[in-house]
């Protein structure tokens, strides 16, 4: 799985979802606007983009994948590659160069964001399929297993590669509540680290990596979809909009997707991360 395709009310919103799906920051991603958003008499059309983790060329990781690479590429610690000045091509319809509200964080030179190309599918990129997904899966498994061990937890780690070529790391066993944490915060942290490790140690850019512990994610998605549907029914009946509590982009997507299949209700996201939330509206 190289590219992910996402939608949103604005290009930016679609990109937010994409970045969360890929688990990278904006300056590590390429994206293309497939469809500009359009509001109109006949209803809204969402912005549609596709994004992938920008492939970077660098030295192959050392042979032993279980060992960290010893080679250091430059002493700065940050920026493992030249910030290949992305060429932000003018967006076709104008408008959507509402360049990011995200302010760079530490370090200056991250202004140049993903290279936006407005011509849909104009370029069929050669996929530099670097390290096979199987190896990324093994790397994810090795790291996760060690992490669980460091916790002194008896959990079992299994990985699978889903039909889209994404990697799913599944930790199962008794008493894993601690590895889930409040509202999945610990699980989220584990996932973040697994992604970081895989991306740094293989050239596993562009692969979606998800971690679940004790079926938490699966259950939560299900519960969230059910909750969203119920709320949408309420909105249908009362004609009054309702807001959900702030949640991460991946969760918002579950809500958007669930409600998109229903009549007489629509959803938008509002607010700034991390307080961004979905609002369910009549109509």
């Amino acid at each position: 799985m190289e590219w992910v395709e996402t939608t949103g009310r604005t290009v930016e919103e679609a990109l937010d979802v994409a970045l969360d799906t890929l688990g990278v920051d904006e300056d590590e991603a390429d994206f293309e606007v497939l469809e500009e958003p359009r509001g109109g008499l006949w209803g809204r059309r969402e912005a549609r983009i596709r994004a992938r983790v920008r492939p970077i060329s660098r030295a192959k990781p050392g042979e032993g994948r279980a060992r960290p690479r010893r080679t250091r590429e430059g002493g700065s610690g940050r920026s493992r590659r030249p910030t290949s000045e992305a060429v932000p091509a003018a967006t076709g319809g104008g408008g959507t160069s509402d360049r990011r509200r995200r302010s760079g964080g530490r370090g200056g030179g991250r202004a140049a964001a993903g290279s936006v190309r407005s011509t849909p599918a104009a370029t069929k990129e050669t996929m530099v399929s670097e390290v096979p997904v199987e190896e990324q899966a093994r790397e994810a498994e090795t790291f996760t297993r060690g992490l669980i061990e460091a916790f002194g937890s008896p959990g079992t780690v299994a990985v699978e590669i889903d039909e889209d070529g994404g990697v799913l790391v599944d930790v199962t066993g008794p008493d894993l509540g601690l590895l889930v944490g409040q509202r999945g915060a610990t699980l989220q942290a584990i996932e973040e680290l697994v992604r970081t490790v895989v991306q740094r140690r293989t050239e596993g850019h562009g692969t979606r990596i998800n971690v679940d512990v004790a079926g938490y994610r699966a259950k939560r998605r299900e519960a969230l979809a059910g909750f969203a549907e119920e709320l949408a029914h309420t909105v249908q009946e009362t004609g009054q909009e309702r807001a959900l509590e702030p949640m991460p982009a991946s969760d918002r997507k579950v809500v958007h997707d669930t409600i998109a299949a229903m009549d007489g209700v629509s959803t938008i996201s509002e607010g700034e991360e991390p307080r961004r939330r979905v609002v369910v509206r009549p109509g």
């Binding site: 964080g105 944490g181 584990i190 490790v197 938490y216 909750f227 309702r242």
Partner: protein
């Protein structure tokens, strides 16, 4: 307009549920799990794992794991927008909670 808050977390242990004071169990080193976790993650991520040292300090009743590493690895251990260190902080908190201690992590500048 009030936020709707689904409660998905029943059945999952709350990792905030720990004693306030630092307490050890038998002879085990207090904060040992948190430290093991931090050492594991930082060595895994560092390009110079041998230069990584995790110092166990205490500050106002809280265990602070201070990560020392080669200057070239600092950025790697902090991560973009501090994402890596934030993730480690969360894991440290969880690992500490398992032992009944409050624990956090800092990357030494």
């Amino acid at each position: 307009m009030s936020d709707e808050a689904p409660d998905f977390d029943e059945g999952f242990e709350d990792d905030d549920d720990f004693e306030d004071e630092i307490a050890g169990e038998g002879n085990r080193i207090v904060g040992g799990t948190a430290r093991a976790v931090v050492e594991y993650v930082t060595r895994y991520l560092a390009e110079e794992p041998d230069a990584v040292d995790v110092e166990l300090t205490e500050r106002r009743g809280e265990i602070v794991l201070l990560v020392h590493a080669s200057p070239g690895d600092m950025g790697r251990l902090i991560g973009r927008r501090g994402r890596v260190v934030q993730a480690m902080r969360q894991l440290t908190r969880a690992a500490g909670a398992a032992e009944g201690v409050r624990a956090t992590v800092d990357v030494a500048e």
